[in-house]
């Protein structure tokens, strides 16, 4: 298998002469050669990948690898120095209703007088001025999405009193209520216990399949995602490798990405990425290293 460095190859489509691909009508998010420099440091370096409708893509990397920055670029909050972001056919804009977003920091005070359903309702029209009219349509929309994420049981509860997993569900409902095509989640599993994390992953996988929503979820541990992920974008120091789990999570691929030897170990269905001896891997001056 020849490893191409051409970003468009990720979709498997042949390239046209001007460099564009035929385009997969199912592609919801296409990131092309995105580079971001902040404060003299190249935070993201020519990152390219795409996610299709109903796809579940894990954005894996440790803290500081550039995951949040990449998500913010897709949201239109950071302008890349070069490269392109395309969402559901158009170029991204700041107020793109096609993108739902679940941020990393959820600072929901237990003192806030806000029910779960109120928070979800804000996802529908919270960006518009004025007061919401409590119509039946609105209430039904909120009820439906709460049901879809399994949050009906605590819809009336104070949102700050909910457990981490429950709050996560409510935030997902808030992001989904505007019926986006793409759902971005920034480290949603980081503060959850193992059982809650598994439940959230299962919920998201179900949503991706049923609603044909593309999901891009960042995490520093890919193990909870292994059962459901069909694509991986692995970030290290701003550089990215993307493909299926089997293609990316391999000793040779990741060692090339990190620039030194790392060992990918499979233990009882889990994956461990371990730093080997810190000897310098041979530098490939050839930009297209031969694959397996």
């Amino acid at each position: 298998m020849i490893v191409k460095t051409d970003p468009m190859a990720s979709t498997g489509e042949p390239l046209l002469a001007d460099g564009t691909s035929v385009g997969d009508p199912d592609t919801v998010l296409r990131v092309t050669d995105v580079t971001v420099s902040l404060g003299g440091r190249r935070v993201l370096d020519r990152v390219s990948f795409s996610v299709g409708a109903g796809g579940f893509c894990g954005l894996i990397g440790s803290n500081g690898a550039g995951k949040t920055t990449l998500l913010r670029v897709i949201l239109g909050l950071i302008a890349p120095s070069s490269g392109r972001i395309e969402v559901a056919g158009g170029t991204r804009s700041r107020r793109n209703p096609q993108i739902g977003y679940v941020p990393q920091k959820i600072a929901l005070d237990a003192d806030m007088p806000l029910r779960a359903r109120d928070l979800v309702g804000l996802g529908l029209d919270g960006h518009r001025f004025g007061l919401s009219r409590p119509t039946a349509t609105r209430r039904i929309a909120v009820d439906e999405i709460l049901d879809a994420v399994g949050a009906t049981e605590f819809a009336e509860a104070r949102v700050g009193n909910l457990s981490g997993g429950e709050q996560q569900r409510v935030m997902i409902a808030q992001a989904l209520i505007s019926r986006p095509k793409l759902l971005l989640l920034d480290e949603p599993l980081a503060n959850l216990d193992i059982r809650s994390a598994a439940e959230v992953v299962e919920l998201l996988a179900g949503i991706a399949a049923e609603q044909r929503i593309a999901i891009l979820l960042s995490a520093h541990d890919m193990n909870p995602l292994l059962p459901v992920m069909d694509r991986v974008v692995y970030l290290a120091d701003g550089r990215a490798v993307s493909g299926t789990t089997d293609q990316v999570v391999r000793t040779d691929t990741l060692s090339r990405l990190y620039g030194h030897h790392v060992e990918v170990i499979h233990v009882q269905g889990r994956v461990l990425v371990v730093s080997g001896a810190e000897h310098q891997a041979h530098h490939d001056t050839d930009p297209s290293p031969r694959g397996p």
Binding site: R115, A175, G276
Partner: protein
């Protein structure tokens, strides 16, 4: 107590309480108690400055409170918000000190603005008071949704195109307007307590935002009415009663919350530190934190 000169006091205090309840809801939600103290206190320097140049004290209040709002928002871009607020109030009070030192005339009414013994307004002053109050309430109504979203989910709001800095400034401007209309009527101590006490108590008794705002207004009205009545009877300063009632209401609210228990529907406990020990973290790329 209901003599004609007092009627204006009742009306003015009622208007102030309504506005304080409405704006106080967001003040407490956003954790802006410090700003609610800084702007009324600092605005007094504007009144002193106006007095110095012979201008209308109310105009001085308005200019200084708006400038203060801008300064808190501006400094808050590069510094933490509480540091920005501290620096702002310090500068405003220092300027007030400077203005007062420039004149040898003593103006007790300037100090009354601080401690809030100015109750009772003439009918002519009631109109602009009510007018600014109406502007404040309309502003809150217009800003309601984006302000709610940016207060509870700032990152989501940002992703939806709402600039959190702009929302912050807008909110502070509303507080500055409240300051301008309320300080001449009830003084800066009272408006501060009215902004945070009733709303702080209200949120213990309901989970719905509109109800919380309504309760906030109700508690603010009860606070001023009781304070005026008792103050009239005992001849003791109103500020004392407002502060005491606010503290009482807040304490009752917290006691009620604690007694009712915080997880009525039996949610699971939050993840403990032990649960945060994940496996599979690549230690090749060390946690840079």
């Amino acid at each position: 107590m209901f003599a004609s000169f007092m009627i204006n006091a009742w009306e003015a205090a009622t208007v102030v309480a309504i506005v304080a309840g409405v704006v106080g809801f967001f003040t407490v939600l956003r954790g802006a108690a410090f700003a609610a103290h800084a702007l009324p206190n600092g605005a007094f320097a504007g009144a002193a400055g106006a007095f110095l140049i012979g201008a209308n004290a109310i105009v001085g209040l308005g200019v200084f409170s708006l400038a203060g709002a801008g300064m808190i928002a501006g400094l808050g871009r590069r510094a933490r918000s509480d540091v920005a607020t501290a620096l702002t109030i310090v500068l405003m009070l220092a300027l007030g000190d400077l203005f007062l030192s420039r004149t040898s005339e003593y103006a007790p009414e300037i100090f009354a603005l601080l401690f809030g013994e100015v109750l009772g307004v003439s009918t002519s002053k009631l109109v602009p008071t009510v007018a600014i109050a109406a502007v404040c309430i309309v502003a809150v109504a217009v800003l309601y949704r984006p302000l709610m979203l940016s207060s509870v989910s700032p990152d989501v709001a940002e992703a939806r195109g709402i600039n959190p800095r702009v929302m912050d400034l807008a909110f502070l401007v509303v507080v500055a307007l409240v300051t301008t209309m309320a300080v001449p009527v009830v003084g800066s101590l009272l408006i501060f307590s009215l902004l945070i006490g009733p709303a702080g108590a209200a949120r213990s008794f309901t989970n719905r935002p509109p109800v919380a705002m309504g309760l906030s207004v109700l508690f603010a009205l009860i606070t001023v009415w009781v304070a005026i009545a008792v103050s009239y009877e005992t001849n003791l300063p109103i500020g004392f009663f407002v502060g005491a009632i606010s503290a009482f209401g807040y304490t009752v609210g917290r006691a009620w919350t604690a007694w009712r228990g915080r997880r009525p529907h039996g949610a699971r406990d939050r993840a403990t530190l032990a649960d945060l020990a994940h496996q599979g973290t690549p230690n090749a790329a060390a946690e840079s934190g």
